[in-house]
Amino acid sequence: MTRSVYVLGAGAHPWGKWPDKPQLQLAHEAMNLALADASLAWPEIQGLVAASSRFEGGMGWGLHANEVVQSVAEQGIPCINVGGACAAGAVAFQTAYALIASGQHDVVAVLGAERMPKGFIPRPPGSPDDISDSDYLRWVAMGATNPAYWAIEANRRKFDFGTSDETLARAAVMMRKNASGNRLARFRAATSIEEVLASPMVADPLHLLEICPVSDGAAAVILGTEEYTRKTGRKPVEVAGCAIATGEFGDPARRIPTVSTNVLPNVSHTSEVVNAVNSACEMAGIGPEDVDVLEMADNTVWHLLSWPELFGFYEPGQGDWMLDNGKLEIGGQISVNPSGGFLSFGEATTAQAVLQICELTWQLRGEAEGHQVPDATIGMSAVLGLGANGGSVILKT
């Protein structure tokens, strides 16, 4: 049996740096907001799926769901902890969706809560210092930082399509403009092309304001059956499609932290995300042209230009014209990251994909105060994580 699944509630702690709040507290606050939004309380929750982090919480074993349940409601429910790095929230969502669609449970919560370490992310303990560990290799042999990988993509785009530095900067300006109306975003001050281009160059052609920093944040979503969504008395938000995928051999994307790429013709760039998006569209029975709102992982301005092209929203290279002509702004042809995106939030890795789904829920309900996309009825998320993890969720109302 497959049952329809609905978003009953969504909640998120504002993104920022919260040195006085442990990860567990951020998790509690996001869960409480999502429960209140769904007019539910812990006794109704039949399962919790949490995105596992390697930075804080989870008893050191990524047991984030167990830790939350033990601290607030020891009611014997299944606790599932899922990995997926920056896409873990999408993997968690997919898992919770399946628990309900299969008929096994009626109400399941999805949680991602993260406090990011200061400075560069250290290698995990026990990693081997030899050629078998590409994360070791990329540091010692050439010092390749994450922005360097994205910058290599951006420079190639400039070569292929003539993308200008001004257009790249305009993407950052648009994210800040969108974030100015979103109280959950960390960076809400308006910026300008001049200010973006005057910010320090990190890795040519990407400037500091064109790359997302890291943040602390937490988000939660409660999923449930049609019967439960009726009880809320709200406009139902249905999960029309959701999928996770991993990368394909021959994908030309410069995958962090590898130092080489095997490129084959006819394999999508960023295939883990493209394949997840395609599967989610197929499940929902829609095409990219039907999507009103796209919430996507904008680790840099390059992502904002390239990803919608990779998903088939428009032709490769057309992103520059779309952006320059305001077609991607709130209420444009397709509203890209009305939330303000990773560039305005900073990335709280495992929480990010859950936040995307919260944002889509609010957009479809018409509750995205200050950054509402008019008449949004179909929203899509897209996220990428280390290990070539991709995820996409499509909601409709």
Binding site: F120, G143, A148, A154, M201, S260
Partner: protein, 148 residues
């Protein structure tokens, strides 16, 4: 001169070798489907390949620049380099569908151009009184590769 008693060694064992004065990257090639990997791989990764067994091979020592960037900030301490200053990182197409990342050398940062022909070279990255001189592979404009 402190490093004199130590040999110059690769930054990571098994990454490259100097064969008759010519630096060569060490990779793996699949017996069945001929796919080439860098660095050496445990197994072929081609999903259509049923054999999967690989053997060590040397990679072509030249290629064309597919794209690049200039790192303006010093990477975290795992990376060591004497006399740090911003440097270029390139993605070099070695042919047969293999693209390899590496530092660029022997060219001014504002003269780097996508499509240029590059040769593999080996240069010291840093030297240390305890462990001697550490070498890494880089790519240089083809016409002056002999200088390495």
């Amino acid at each position: 001169m402190m490093a004199q008693q130590h040999a110059s060694t690769p930054i990571v064992e098994g990454l490259f070798e100097i064969v008759a004065g010519t630096p060569k990257l060490i990779g793996s090639q699949c017996h069945a489907c001929n796919t080439i990997y860098f660095p050496q791989a445990l197994s072929c990764r081609n999903p259509k390949c049923r054999d999967k067994s690989v053997e060590q091979t040397f990679l072509p020592h030249g290629g064309t620049l597919y794209s690049y960037t200039v790192q303006r900030y010093q990477p975290p301490p795992l990376f060591r380099m004497d006399h740090w200053s911003p440097y270029a990182l390139g993605l070099v197409d070695l042919g047969d569908g293999l693209q390899v990342m590496g530092m660029l050398t022997g060219i001014k940062l504002d003269e780097i151009a996508i499509g240029m022909t590059l040769k593999l070279v080996v240069e010291p990255l840093y030297s240390d009184a305890e462990i001697g001189e550490k070498l890494t592979y880089k790519f240089a404009p083809a016409e002056r590769a002999g200088a390495a």
